[in-house]
């Protein structure tokens, strides 16, 4: 599971890491994710979820992915229901606290049709961080004494050679592909994030391929005016796709909050018969729309305007 250093170096060496235009469509970017790949998602819960990219992968009928994220919300349900992934690695998995426990997650895991591999939130973060740093593990001080550690593949305790203390070592996570949605980046993939960065910076460094979706593509000159705001560097990025409202119905910091009515609709659709409800949801919002604008139209213009008004409010006094 943990990649040897030489393997990791070799994969990185083979990538074209130069400053070059990487702009493409969602459909082209989807081709960069092979069936069966391990994929990490940026954002957290209902925030900066790379929804448009997942939407494209579901439409492309990809299968067999192993998908990791700090915390999974509705996108986790859709991964299971579409067959895009039946193995999810995360620390918490449900639509969100106000909507209670996910019925779809329960249906798939309790029937053993899918796996939810649970790690503590810090362990997820440190697994990505080890991957970002090019070392095979990180030492940490939680998870021990719990049932979580017993079920976490690869986690192991060690006696610290400096202090004699018991530490937990968690294995590096170097996903094949990372999908990250950002507020803005340039055509080369220099991304500047506003607000909460979650685990995205480590994920981008850890992955062997990075696909950025972005609300806006800006000029390289604009990026260079504030280089200390660049949080993901072009040399880690392999594809750039401009997708306005690319996290909908989740939020994108400073631009739009979650589309709450639509989130409620999703919860209602999946409440009674999760399998049927999720299938219907996928049909209506993923398979049928002719393009991303059509997807947004089906969510609804009033919803979009409301989410945008609330989103930009974070900068109001």
């Amino acid at each position: 599971m943990t990649q040897s250093y030489l393997d990791l170096r070799q994969k990185t060496r083979e990538r074209d890491r130069s400053l070059r235009d990487k702009v493409m469509s969602l459909e082209e970017a989807a081709k960069l994710v092979p069936d069966g790949a391990s994929v990490a998602l940026g954002g957290c819960t209902a925030s900066r979820t790379p929804m448009a990219m997942l939407w494209a992968l579901i439409r492309a009928r990809k299968t067999g992915l192993t998908v990791s994220r700090s915390i999974m919300s509705t996108e986790g349900d859709l991964l299971y229901a579409s067959g895009l992934s039946r193995h999810i690695i995360t620390s918490w998995f449900s639509q969100g606290i106000v909507w209670g426990v996910s019925k779809v997650m329960r249906a798939y895991t309790e029937s053993h049709r899918a796996t939810f591999e649970e790690w503590s939130h810090m362990a997820m973060g440190l697994r990505y961080r080890a991957g970002a740093m090019g070392v095979p593990f990180m030492p940490m001080r939680s998870m021990m004494g719990s049932g979580v550690v017993d079920r976490a593949p690869g986690a192991r305790t060690m006696e610290c050679p400096f202090t004699g203390e018991t530490l937990l070592l968690v294995p590096a996570l170097n996903p094949d592909v990372a999908l990250i949605h950002v507020q803005r980046c340039d055509a080369y993939g220099n991304a500047q994030l506003d607000g909460l960065s979650f685990m995205d910076i480590d994920i981008a460094m850890a992955a062997n391929r990075v696909i950025l979706t972005t609300e806006r593509i800006v000029s390289n000159d604009q990026i260079r005016r504030h280089p200390d705001q660049t949080k993901i560097g072009f040399f880690t990025v392999d594809a750039v796709v401009e997708v306005p409202f690319g996290s909908a119905p989740h939020e994108c910091y400073g631009l739009y909050e979650p589309f709450y009515s639509h989130m409620d609709l999703y919860a209602q659709m999946t409440a009674k018969d999760p399998d049927k409800g999720a299938a219907e949801y996928l049909e209506r919002f993923h398979y049928e729309p002719k393009d991303w604008a059509d997807y947004l139209s089906r969510i609804g213009m009033a919803e979009l305007l409301d989410a945008q008004r609330r989103g930009s409010g974070i900068y109001d006094d």
Binding site: I97, G100, F116, E118, S142, S146, D202
Partner: protein
């Protein structure tokens, strides 16, 4: 994000002036001290922390798992999770999730404060599986940062007091309390932190210094020792001279209702 929300029924003791959730929030808030740093989950913990800020602890610092340090949440705009932009309102600092959890590990946090779905005699919490983990009756959302917080900070847990939630042994230890009691927590690799208080709609519990078993510290007005024992799935000692809490004050209740006018968390 730690556990499912505490959706409580009307309080057992007949005090119609406030709901069980309001009682929980007020009692929890009073446990927080001015100048402390508290790592709070959404729901009752967040409400209680803001209530403390607006009453006796104006210098309380709130941390959210999303990477937020020192925010001031606006009345009527409670965040739906600790990882969304509403959490960042007027914050002092935003960092990554990994960084904010590492601050906990580094020791900068005084109190971890979360809700609970199932707890046992030694304060272990379960938010992962009801039934057998390999073949669960219910797959719950999991730990989130709950495990990290419980492993690394002094803990306050706010939850509804029901026999099915207060069990002899949790089905699964998601977030460790004192594990098997006495020094087993430290021996497992967790020398710092541990359960401090469990706040319920019936009373406030602490843990015996030697055995680390749960014990009652105070009862809410109108709650008898027998009532709390009847609602607990294990032997819960109630000292003869047990304290009785003060009922929620009008100011406390008014603040809570202003914070959560839609009654998302306090109904």
């Amino acid at each position: 994000m730690t556990t499912e929300p505490v959706r409580t029924a009307p309080p057992l003791a007949a005090v119609p002036a406030y709901t069980a959730s309001e009682l929980l929030a007020v009692m929890s808030a009073r446990l927080l001290k001015d100048g402390q740093t508290v790592f709070a989950g959404v729901g009752i913990p967040l409400l209680a922390a803001i209530l403390a800020q607006k009453t006796h602890a104006p210098g309380l610092t709130i941390l959210f798992e999303g990477g937020v340090i020192g925010p001031f949440v606006e009345a009527g705009k409670l965040p739906p999770s600790t990882n969304e932009q509403r959490c960042t309102r007027r914050a002092n600092m935003l960092v990554s999730i990994t960084e904010v959890l590492l601050m906990l590990q580094r020791g900068y946090v005084d109190v971890g404060f979360m809700g609970g779905a199932q707890i046992d005699r030694f304060g272990n919490l379960n938010s992962s599986f009801i039934g057998d983990a390999d073949n669960p009756k219910i797959r719950l959302p999991g730990t989130g940062g709950g495990n990290d917080i419980a492993s690394l900070a002094d803990m306050i847990v706010a939850m509804k007091h029901e026999k099915r939630r207060f069990v002899e042994k949790v089905d699964f230890i998601t977030s460790p309390g004192f594990v098997d009691g006495s020094d087993s927590r430290a021996r497992a690799g967790l020398p710092a932190g541990g359960m401090f208080r469990v706040v319920t709609d019936l009373g406030i519990m602490g843990f015996d210094e030697a055995t680390k078993a749960m014990t009652v510290v105070a009862l809410h007005p109108g709650v008898t020792p027998q009532a709390i024992k009847d609602n607990t799935g294990f032997e819960l000692p109630v000292p003869a001279d047990v304290a009785v809490t003060e009922v929620p004050g009008d100011v406390e209740l008014a603040i809570l209702r202003e914070l959560d006018p839609a009654r998302l968390y306090t109904a």
